[in-house]
Amino acid sequence: MKTLSAALGAACLVFAASLAGAADKPTDPQIAHIAYSAGVIDVEAAKLALTKTQNPDVKAFAESMQKDHEAVNDAALALVKKLGVTPEDNETSQSLAKAAEAKRAELGKLDGAAFDKAYIDNEVAYHQQVNGALETLLIPSAENGELKSLLETGLKLFQGHQQHAEHVAAGLK
């Protein structure tokens, strides 16, 4: 429990710290990079889960995460191409990637029910964190209307994922 709270705290800090560092609001190329990176992280987590879990609900959840995040990232790639925008790496994307790597290593050591619980709990926390960032920072900062609209659809999608994860988590208890 202690490690879980610590992990959650760390996850929340990623956005808070790196975004506080960049007191200026992120630019569209940075926002595109952050959103895309956040999607890739969840696809990677889903792939790991699919190699580990035996639980049908967790499996269905992970499959849905992989497909949905790949689909929304495809849409994001198509949009930046159309707009002629090159996604720009930044501190927030890097912090997200670093935190995700640590989490993946941690999850990699677990198996069975312990893995399922840790994976799903992290999915709840992770989507909560990304949704918070979308609502308070990324969507309000986006200049381009189409990018803003895609982020808004992303927010609805990820809010759905968070609820789905909460349902699965309730079933694991």
């Binding site: 849905s64 497909k67 949905d68 689909a71 659809t153 609805k156 999608l157 809010q159 759905g160 789905h164």
Partner: protein, 110 residues
Amino acid sequence: MTALLLDRRQLLLGGAALLAIGGPARAEASTVRITVEKLAFVPEEITVRAGDTIEWVNKDPFAHTATVKGGWEVAIPPGKTGTRVAAAGDDIEYYCRFHPNMKGRIVVSA
């Protein structure tokens, strides 16, 4: 091809048999369409009669479902359509199993 033709014939025959059993078909039985777009069922609420076909047209690149808690479920694959023939007991709320924040309601009128 033969199999296909046969299937179609069987379907027609089956349909005719059903109509015969069910008595005169209601001429007004229709299709009510719901568009699924940007994580929403539009319109959110529909009114149908038992026997009408409900059609969910998925314009999202994501897989959705129309799921009734403890009841039926219709798969609505990305870019495809899911259908259900409304039953008398379909006066219910439904949601998407993959995105439970998507909600819809079916009202069955007499």
